[in-house]
Point group: C2
Chain length 351, copies 2
């Protein structure tokens, strides 16, 4: 799920620092004054908005070597890859004429144009670093505003197509890897607690505790009446608390049920190295177990960077891109298993 | 599921003859004249029946070195082992005072006493050999009858506690290994067809197409109005037809979806060699895949005898017997995985 290649340095024992927070994301919803929201605008108006916004984003000078595209002009495979990397939303792809994007070469910064709002400014950072993501989003937002006029109310703040975004227009999220809580059977209780605290929790490619790869995105709901600092602080604190519970679950497992942990990791290692056919969801689950094994020092000859890369590479769009052709599910399942066998040939369980 | 150690000779290429029929069984229900059926008899009467029957069985001289026991005197682990080997029924164990058994040393021949009927004479043979099982059961039955008087009606035949057994008192069954049909998704249709033909199909430790180890027992239902030869011929023919469909399914898989087949076998091999925790059902499923792999020449350094032995050894009673102590499910799951890792250490996938 990482967009950059930032990896932590491994100790001599090849154990890596437990990294429960996989990535952090900040997204700002903005709209232009004097234009209807995308849902209500006609095609000509949406096109004018796209041109205006694209020009303003490029003028900031913050996007080096960017991908600038009209959604209609994106190939299917490229579009799917951008979705899988969480750079753009499925919703943007379904918006049709006038929907566009400007994405930095490293995919870290993206502006979606004419999705639900005229602009969705998004910054992703590896690990738990909402502040850094916020700083970059805020800077881009400020520089864009120098080139165009936002719809803004002194009473309400930024105006958005959906009332839930009115105010700061800020939605922040942290992606957490919660396999330990799953293995101790504590995951459902944690997810319910987050729901009671009014945080949204969404699995990647799946809802509830069966999310593929045990990856969960925790985000704030609504922004009216809270400033950015409060939203980010609250979310950081909650995500930090969940991460602490996950680390505790892992410690508990390692102490009380080392065989359950070893079993989970050993199965993932041998299946990734030997299966002939594998679905995306299955691959993500085993890569998740490998990540846990790596962090607990149970797996040798593997890097976090490889895991991050494979977590994207197993997904349909990325896989088809590397195959150089669109292909059916069955072919993909075979190609995915073959790619994983080859890439993970060298890994081994700690003796 | 085999009781004997009969294995087929392997060719130089280590492929073995496809053996869909794992074992065949013949069972005769008999009762003594002048005694109430076990369900209606008091304890004293049941004890007299047990003594009379035991004496008669031993007097035949057909059971060398037999195990003669009162159910109440069987230890839990021994009782469970005999059930797992399908030598006696769970029902017999629940009958209480007066229930007994006489079992040959090789477990091939068994007489259950005071189960549903006064006698249940049972013979099992490896492979598809109902005739041989029948011949042995018939001989034992005839010799027992020389020592005691059976309840018999010239009009109806042998009288039994349940009307469905009246007549020949014969129930015959063949145990088939149907993983190929499962993998081609044809299993449900075959099971439905057997049901329409009025054959009973029962999974081992499970009903329907999810039976552990993909082992299915097909047996005749009812015996009134059909002589023994007709019952055995019909069942042999039907079991032969299902076995033919299973072999066709395997050929189809090998030709059209070799990767599905390889995937199934490769997963079983690596999980059996690497899991740290494994349930009985999971172990039976992987041993089933190993059996298929062996027959198709996909697995090396493994014998059918080892597979037959492990198919029993993974079951709770057998496992506890080898551990020398009764233990909880979790301990068993760990011990089972450890035993399998050790016993299957040398096996490998065909290069």
């Amino acid at each position: 799920m990482l967009i950059g290649g930032s990896t932590r340095r491994r100790s001599a024992a090849e154990a890596v620092e437990p990294r429960v927070a996989v990535s952090s994301r900040v997204r700002l919803a903005r709209n232009l004054r004097g234009f209807r929201f995308p849902e209500w605008a006609d095609e000509g108006e949406r096109r004018r908005v796209r041109e205006t916004v694209t020009r303003a984003v490029l003028a900031t000078g913050l996007m080096r070597d960017p991908l600038v595209a009209d959604v209609a002009g994106l190939g299917d495979v490229t579009a799917q890859m951008l979705c899988e990397s969480r750079v753009i939303s499925q919703d943007l792809l379904e918006r049709g004429a006038g929907a566009g994007l400007v994405v930095s070469a490293d995919r870290r910064i993206a502006v979606m144009i004419n999705e639900e709002d005229h602009l969705r400014i998004q910054v992703m950072e590896p690990g738990s670093d909402l502040q850094r993501a916020w700083a970059a989003a805020d800077e881009l937002d400020t520089r864009i505003e120098a080139h165009l006029a936002y719809a803004f109310s002194p009473q309400l703040g930024y105006l958005t197509a959906c009332p839930s975004n009115v105010g700061t227009g800020l939605r922040a999220s942290v992606m957490l890897h919660l396999l330990g809580l799953r293995l101790t059977n504590d995951l459902d209780a944690v997810l319910r607690a987050l729901d009671r605290l009014r945080y949204a929790v969404r699995g990647v490619d799946g809802e509830g505790s069966d999310a593929a790869g045990h990856l969960f995105q925790i985000s704030n709901q609504g922004t009216l009446g809270q400033d950015e600092a409060a939203v980010l602080d609250d979310l950081s604190r909650v995500a930090g608390e969940v991460a602490r519970q996950e680390r505790n679950a892992r410690l508990r497992l390692a102490r009380r049920s080392p065989l359950v942990l070893e079993d989970c990791v050993a199965r993932a290692v041998v299946l990734l190295k030997n299966a002939r056919v594998m679905s995306t969801e299955e691959a993500l689950d085993y890569l998740s177990a490998l990540r846990l094994g790596l962090e607990l020092g149970l797996v040798r000859r593997l890097s976090v960077a490889t895991l991050d890369e494979l977590t994207l590479a197993v997904q349909p769009g990325h896989l088809q891109q590397s195959l150089g052709a669109a292909c059916a599910t069955e072919e993909r399942d075979t190609a995915r298993a073959g790619m994983l066998r080859k890439r993970l040939e060298g890994i081994a369980l700690r003796a």
